[in-house]
């Protein structure tokens, strides 16, 4: 065997990365700790699996006579999602213009406003719902307010990034002819970002429809209320009806909105 043939016969050795081993170790330790902490025991699941399966089977036999009382609350859910999206998006629109660094040059203002936005973004929608139920009482208004704040967080983040990546040419052109801030925003910024804004609003609407279906569980209006009632009295046939209706609506709205988003972006 010549030298080069020998080289070909032996594959290059894989390098052992110490860091990978450490990561693996950290990961396994994390797994053990969290299993202990949460007392997760798969045997308990399998021991009671027939009960779990039982619920499932009952849900698969939906009680269609219940549909009549589900529809009004379903419409309320969609109304909540629409209003929450609109209010949140309008707030987000103004706020995004205030924190985009290519429009507002004052670094202190933008930094403070961004910090506030980042804090708002961290609060999950259901927690917002729970808080608003405490503030304005049980009902759809709490849900709308929660969804508004939540939408605000989603849209601001996406929209201000879109504003910051626009072409600076038109802004410079308008500045050169002596336009004021409002005119610059109207004629240079908005035409470039409006389609993005509408697309993000639609995206937020999709999320909101999902979120609004469960908000009722904590008293913030919509179909979630029936979810809670039927689960409490173990009427899983009715729960099944509600869930099937929710899934249908969510899938339908997702489809329509993602199609319109695609059409918008062309």
């Amino acid at each position: 065997m010549t030298d080069s043939e020998q080289n070909l016969a032996v594959l290059p050795k894989k390098k052992l990365h110490v860091m990978n081993l450490i990561w693996l170790l950290v990961f396994i330790v994390g797994l053990v700790i969290s299993t202990n902490e949460t007392h997760t025991n798969l045997s308990a699941l399998f021991a009671n699996f027939d009960q779990f399966g039982d619920i499932f089977v009952q849900m698969l036999h939906p009680d269609w006579s219940y549909l009549g009382s589900v529809i009004p609350l379903l419409l309320e859910t969609i109304k909540m999602a629409v209003l929450g999206t609109i209010i949140g998006s309008v707030l987000a629109f103004v706020y995004s213009l205030l924190i985009a660094r290519n429009i507002v040059k004052n670094k202190i203002v933008t930094s403070v406003l961004r910090f506030i936005m980042n804090i708002i973004r961290t609060i999950p929608d259901l927690l917002l719902g729970a808080i608003f139920v405490a503030i304005v009482g049980i009902g759809p208004v709490a849900g709308i307010l929660a969804l508004s704040i939540f939408t605000f967080g989603v849209v601001v983040k996406l929209f201000y990034e879109a504003i910051e990546t626009i072409d600076p040419g038109p802004i410079e052109a308008l500045t050169a002819v002596g336009a004021n801030k409002l005119q610059i925003i109207m004629f240079a910024v908005l035409p470039q970002v409006m389609t993005y804004f509408i697309s993000y609003c639609l995206y937020a609407f999709e999320i909101n429809v999902r979120a609004s279906t469960v908000l009722g569980y904590i008293g913030a209006g919509g179909i979630g209320l029936y979810l809670q009632q039927t689960l409490q009295v173990f009427d899983y046939g009715k729960t099944g009806t509600i869930i099937i209706v929710i899934i249908l609506v969510v899938v339908l709205i997702d489809y329509v909105s993602s199609k319109s988003r695609e059409a918008l972006m062309d």
Partner: protein
């Protein structure tokens, strides 16, 4: 003087576009008006402002004694439990997601209906509300964090497997062909070409899902599936605004820190 320079040419009018936009605008406005009907805005409690003020006061004067008192029911232990729920739930869902992802990825099948059916199954799993899953698991394993772990583990599959399958679809065919050319079996191809190529994307998506799960885990407690949500809803019901304040602060700090860490790791991965 030649005036034609001062006048701009008239904008061309695209009637088709104009009609399309006006119809869409009218539809949108109609939708908004319809949404406003039937919703009772007058029902806001007179005490709303006062309570909102109390919550804000609570956030700025949090109940520091609750942070740690060694009882195992303080903020730190509950947050720790929330993180553990999210960690284990994400891990379980990452494992379940893999076969689903291969099912839903269209590049792996000859027949279109195989991957399409996989995608539909994932969409249904995604739209099954997390809270309902949590309540079902509470029935099965009793109230507590185990129910939260299982609910998260199953719910996340819908989103995670979708992301995974998109990664599989975007994969370069080269390495697969190389292993096949060297005489590798189907198992060899998956083990030595597909999975190593996929791994960074899988880890990155799982980390992203972990971020989302942290938020979910802090919510599942509202229905009794363990974690920080439970003490929060109790504090809200008993109007202990100082405690609500400190719990909210705790959740915000936890989410920000975890977002930051996982973002740093993801940046390193890609």
């Amino acid at each position: 003087m030649n005036t034609s320079i001062k006048k701009l040419p008239a904008k061309p009018v695209d009637y088709k576009k104009r009609i399309k936009y006006s119809v869409l605008t009218i539809l949108t406005i109609a939708l908004i008006i319809w949404s406003c009907t039937g919703i009772d805005f007058g029902g806001i409690k007179a005490t709303a402002g006062q309570i909102a003020g109390a919550i804000f006061a609570g956030i700025f004067h949090p109940d520091w004694s609750y942070v740690y008192n060694g009882s195992g029911e303080d903020l730190v232990s509950e947050l720790w439990q929330t993180i553990c729920i999210a960690f284990l739930g994400t891990f379980i869902s990452a494992i379940i997601s893999l076969p689903f992802a291969f099912w839903a990825a269209h590049t792996k099948h000859k027949h279109w209906y195989v991957s399409r059916s996989g995608k539909i199954v994932l969409a249904v799993i995604r739209s099954f509300p997390e809270i309902v899953l949590a309540l079902m698991f509470i029935k099965a394993v009793g109230p507590g964090s185990a129910a939260g772990v299982l609910a998260l583990g199953f719910h996340s599959v819908g989103m995670l497997a979708k992301l995974f399958s998109e990664e599989i679809e975007n994969l370069d065919d080269g390495p697969n062909e190389a292993v096949a050319a060297a005489g590798g079996s189907k198992f060899n191809i998956t083990m030595f070409a597909t999975l190593p190529d996929l791994l960074p994307a899988l880890i990155s998506n799982t980390l992203y899902r972990f971020d989302v799960s942290i938020r979910s885990a802090s919510v599942l407690g509202l229905v009794g599936a363990g974690g920080i949500g439970y003490p929060l809803i109790i504090a809200l019901q008993y109007r202990q605004w100082n405690r609500v304040g400190i719990i909210l602060l705790g959740i915000i700090v936890m989410v920000v820190v975890i977002d930051w860490i996982s973002g740093a790791i993801r940046k390193k991965l890609i």
